[in-house]
């Protein structure tokens, strides 16, 4: 490979790495019509005026497991939407925008990023490694408080108690 080609590849790698640093997290960012689970948890805890959380799953799933204060989509009529200015809909993973056509009068209709799975992972059962740094432990304290507020339980992962070690080999 000549010097010119190597320089181009090096520049591409550097540009890609720089963009990664700007992007920060490896997780896909929420879409413009989505709200992260942690932010929704703050809204619910702060009793944000005009907020309505809507479950677009089945009635059975709603009875089994739902977000605090959420209402089933089938139970919502026009009267219930009168004083609402923000609707946050959720499903198991990603709420289908087609389900929310009846809410066109609401100023702001959002979907929960990652669905109820993200709520469980990020809000109810956040995980901290036992060998986390002091800064990581401080950052986690806020999430732990929020978790307990909603009846969840922050998880402490003991790396030494990992599942039995596989006897596989990896290398070049």
């Amino acid at each position: 490979m000549n010097r010119h080609a190597r320089s181009i590849l090096a520049l591409l790698a550097l540009a890609s790495g720089t963009l990664a640093a700007i992007a920060g997290t490896v997780a896909p960012p929420p879409a413009t019509d989505e709200v992260p689970a942690a932010e929704l948890a703050q809204w619910i805890r702060d009793r944000r005026p005009g907020l309505l959380v809507v479950d677009v799953r089945s009635a059975e799933a709603f009875d089994r497991d739902r977000l605090p204060g959420a209402r089933l989509l089938a139970d919502i009529d026009a009267d219930a939407l009168r004083s609402v200015d923000t609707v946050v809909a959720y499903a198991d993973a990603r709420a289908d925008p087609a389900e929310l056509r009846g809410m066109s009068n609401v100023p702001r209709v959002l979907r929960l990023h990652g669905g109820i799975a993200a709520w469980n992972e990020e809000v109810l059962f956040p995980v901290l490694r036992a060998d986390a740094s002091a800064r990581q432990q401080r950052d986690f304290a806020t999430r732990a408080l929020l978790s307990r507020y909603f009846g969840g339980s922050p998880q402490l992962l003991d790396p030494g108690a990992s599942p039995a070690r596989g006897r596989s080999r990896r290398g070049c």
């Binding site: 090096a10 490896v26 997780a27 490694r129 070690r165 070049c172």
Partner: protein
């Protein structure tokens, strides 16, 4: 086999994928000239640092690929297996591996490539590490406590440093480019 490449596929499909990926890996090693012990040993004399360049290139291509595929929602990073960290046995294993590489001139992957292309030294190295694997398997109970020591689970650099994932990716890219430049400088000086 790590998901989500083939997910919950059958054992046969997993093994087929492993054979295909292994053949691809071996082909890449052979094309890079790494089936030759002389080329590998060249790195210890500073004459030819191709091994470091090939491995670091593969690492940053994979790292950037995983980062951006996950970022764009095309790869579920939670489904990708991260090997568990056992600090002390892995540190000892790395030293042993390095010593074996210096003595044999080949590592397990390149030894397979060398053997497959008919090099006798490669065949002996393959026999040697297969014998070593059998020996360790037979004696493993005797040093089980050491084998499990320094456990840190699936430990990644962002978790270790507390820096954002993307910042760690950028740092590794800069480190790799600096290593490439350093390697070229060393090669020029030695030649």
């Amino acid at each position: 086999m790590s998901a989500p490449l083939i997910g919950d596929a059958s054992l046969g499909a997993s093994l087929s994928a492993a054979v295909a990926l292994g053949a691809g890996f071996g082909f890449a090693l052979e094309r890079a000239g790494l089936g030759s012990a002389r080329k590998l040993i060249g790195q210890f004399y500073g004459r030819d640092l191709a091994v470091m360049k090939v491995m670091f290139s593969a690492l940053i291509v994979a790292m950037l690929g995983v980062f951006w595929l996950s970022r764009f929602g095309l790869l579920d990073l939670r489904a990708v297996y991260v090997p568990l960290t056992y600090l002390w046995p892995q540190l000892f294993g790395a030293l042993l591996f390095g010593a074996g590489l210096v003595i044999a001139g080949l590592c397990p992957g390149t030894a397979c490539v060398a053997a497959a292309t008919g090099r006798v030294d490669g065949m002996f190295v393959v026999l040697g590490f297969l014998a070593g694997m059998v020996g360790v398997g037979l004696l493993l109970d005797g040093f089980a406590a050491f084998y499990e020591s320094g456990a840190h689970g699936a430990w990644t650099l962002p978790e270790l440093t507390g820096f954002p994932y993307g910042a760690v990716v950028a740092a590794v890219v800069v480190l790799a480019l600096a290593a490439f430049a350093g390697a070229e400088w060393i090669e020029r000086r030695v030649r």
